[in-house]
């Protein structure tokens, strides 16, 4: 179920565009901002607000890396695994993260605190290895820095 605030956000996005369909990605992101992910029900309702077929909005939603169609934890850690990060130690970092959180890529910790996902180049290659935590960039990450870093996300 979409809340009033979400409906409002989608309606506002819709207003910005001559064709309501063009607000699709923004609508999905608005839902995700409120609920953390995009459920089937929320997607269907968003499609209705935009006046487009559910299957088409789903086709858009499933295409993008950053629209989550499954529940995620309170904090989403996206780990860049592209070439510049790989060259300076992304693999050991990723292994350390998995070990520290006790989960495999794509999973969420049991306490619902973290979800871990690999992602393509974040455009922060000069601060490699780079992460994106809750949408904000974190650079120069090393296995040694992990404990301090994770503490900041209760």
């Amino acid at each position: 179920m979409l809340s009033e605030a979400e409906r409002q956000a989608i309606a506002e996005e819709r207003e910005r565009w001559a064709d309501p369909r063009a607000a699709g990605v923004e609508a999905l992101k608005a839902v995700q901002e409120h609920q953390g992910w995009v459920s089937d029900e929320a997607l269907a309702e968003a499609a209705e607000v935009l006046g487009m077929p559910v299957a088409e909005l789903d086709g858009v939603a499933t295409f993008y890396n950053l629209i989550f169609r499954k529940p995620v934890g309170r904090h989403v850690i996206l780990v860049c695994d592209s070439v510049s990060c790989w060259l300076v130690g992304q693999e050991p970092l990723y292994a350390a993260l998995q070990q520290r959180l006790g989960i495999a890529p794509g999973q969420t910790t049991e306490d619902g605190r973290f979800t871990l996902l690999p992602v393509c180049c974040l455009g922060r290659c000069e601060r490699a290895p780079a992460l994106l935590i809750d949408g904000e960039p974190v650079g120069d990450v090393s296995p040694e820095r992990l404990d301090d870093l994770l503490e900041r996300y209760p």
């Binding site: 369909r21 607000a23 699709g24 990605v25 592209s82 060259l87 393509c120 180049c121 290659c125 601060r127």
Partner: protein, 421 residues
């Protein structure tokens, strides 16, 4: 040395509108609105020799010239700010550091093609840039640099920011248009070219961020000045980057034609202690490898092409002699396999195969015939075999890697292990 694109970027924070105006900002917009016909602006950009900085290197003025100026349909201009080529982060620096430069660039370029609507297509991961642009766009509307009847000239332009949701293919010109219209972002067939029928069927120009940011400066200082910024035939400055095991990874605005050696050794501070540069992708993940023999190559469109690669985005990714080239290629092909839009079979099915074979070789499970198989994939995914340039871009590094690092591949297969582990 002049650095027009980055001159206003301050470590102590970005310029607001007043600060930007104090450095002469919006002067180019005032100039074109008061003194220049749209065609004159396009001609000037053509004369300047400006070529696209997003990877393809097409003449910007020529691209604009395909826009029908007497058309009834409203024309659109789009800044491609979906920077997702691994190794590349130059546009982020321009957007975060000087957002008004981007806004003015959109207005001046929009005027040249008589655009009614302008869009900045920004990747979601660039949130600080989104915040900077939102603010700059608001300030520009308030000052009358955007909207109806800009500065009383009778020219109207509306500018909107669209933030995407992460997918490399959105950087492809026609996929970007599909995405902006709200469709699943698949590339479209050309022709018709976007200049004839682009966004919602309207004449549309899509340009890279760095490309557009050059335009106000060309208008201010002229085509000859722009040519003079360069050391070689390709005009202007270029934002070069370096990443990998260099001492100071980063990006710098330098004369077009600066050599790879200068970028890596002077600006990036050389390779980290104990490392030697062995190979490099000169312009991001989709550009074929060059080797240490090419360090003195001037990095411009012509010279890099002659050496068998592409200038791409000018972002050097450095491979050192202690890193396994097979592992690096497996990493690159995973990226391309994952980011294929899946529309056409050779790309969707072929790229995962290349990754699988490379992984097997890297693990020491390579077989006789694997290298021929990889070479076959390079042919089947090469230019002209797939719907868009994603697949040819993906096999560029692979094909060149097989050539330059042949011995490394053979050792993996012969010794049944990765010699770097």
């Amino acid at each position: 040395m002049e650095t027009p694109l980055t001159a206003n970027i301050r470590p102590d924070g970005r310029l607001d509108r007043a600060g930007y105006e104090a450095t002469g900002g919006y002067g180019a917009l005032r100039k074109v609105l008061a003194d220049m016909a749209p065609g004159e602006v396009t001609q000037m950009v053509k004369d300047s020799g400006l070529r696209g900085r997003g990877g393809a290197g097409f003449s910007t003025g020529m691209k604009w010239g395909f826009i029908p100026l007497d058309d009834e349909r409203p024309t659109c201009i789009v800044a491609n700010a979906d920077e997702m080529e691994p190794g590349t982060f130059k546009d982020r620096i321009l957007l975060e550091g000087d957002p008004h430069q981007m806004v003015e660039a959109m207005a001046v370029s929009g005027y040249a093609i008589q655009a009614r609507y302008a869009f900045i297509f920004l990747r979601e991961e660039y949130r600080p840039a989104a915040r900077a642009l939102e603010r700059a766009i608001g300030e520009a509307y308030e000052a009358g640099y955007l909207g109806e009847d800009i500065l009383g000239s009778g020219y109207h332009l509306d500018l909107q920011l669209h933030t995407s949701a992460g997918r490399y293919i959105c950087g492809e010109e026609t996929a970007l248009l599909s995405a902006l219209e709200g469709h699943r972002p698949l590339p479209r067939a050309k022709p018709p070219f976007p200049q004839q029928s682009g966004l919602w069927g309207r004449p549309t120009v899509v340009n890279n961020v760095e490309t557009l940011c050059n335009v106000p400066h060309i208008v201010n200082h002229g085509a000859a000045w722009f040519q003079g910024l360069s050391r070689t035939e390709d005009a202007g400055t270029k934002l070069y980057g370096a990443s990998g095991k260099v001492n100071r990874p980063g990006a710098w605005e330098l004369p077009m034609g600066t050599t790879a050696r200068e970028v890596v050794e002077e600006h990036a501070g050389g390779m980290r202690a104990g490392h030697r540069l062995r190979g490099m992708l000169p312009g991001g993940a989709s550009t074929p490898f060059l080797t240490d023999e090419h360090l003195d190559l001037p990095l411009d469109f012509g010279h890099v092409a002659e050496a068998g690669s592409r200038l791409g985005t000018g972002a050097i990714v450095a491979l050192d002699e202690r890193t396994c080239p097979v592992g690096m290629l497996a990493n690159l092909e995973r990226f391309f396999a994952r980011e294929s839009c899946g529309w056409c079979t050779p790309c969707r099915d072929g790229l995962p195969w290349t990754e699988r074979i490379l992984r097997a070789i890297d693990r020491g499970e390579g077989r006789e015939g694997d290298l021929d198989n990889l070479a076959l994939h390079c042919r089947h995914l090469g230019p002209g075999r797939t719907f868009c340039a994603h697949a040819p871009g993906a096999v560029g590094p692979l094909e060149s890697g097989l050539k330059h690092f042949r011995e490394d591949f053979e050792r993996h297969i012969r010794e049944r292990r990765c010699p770097w582990e």
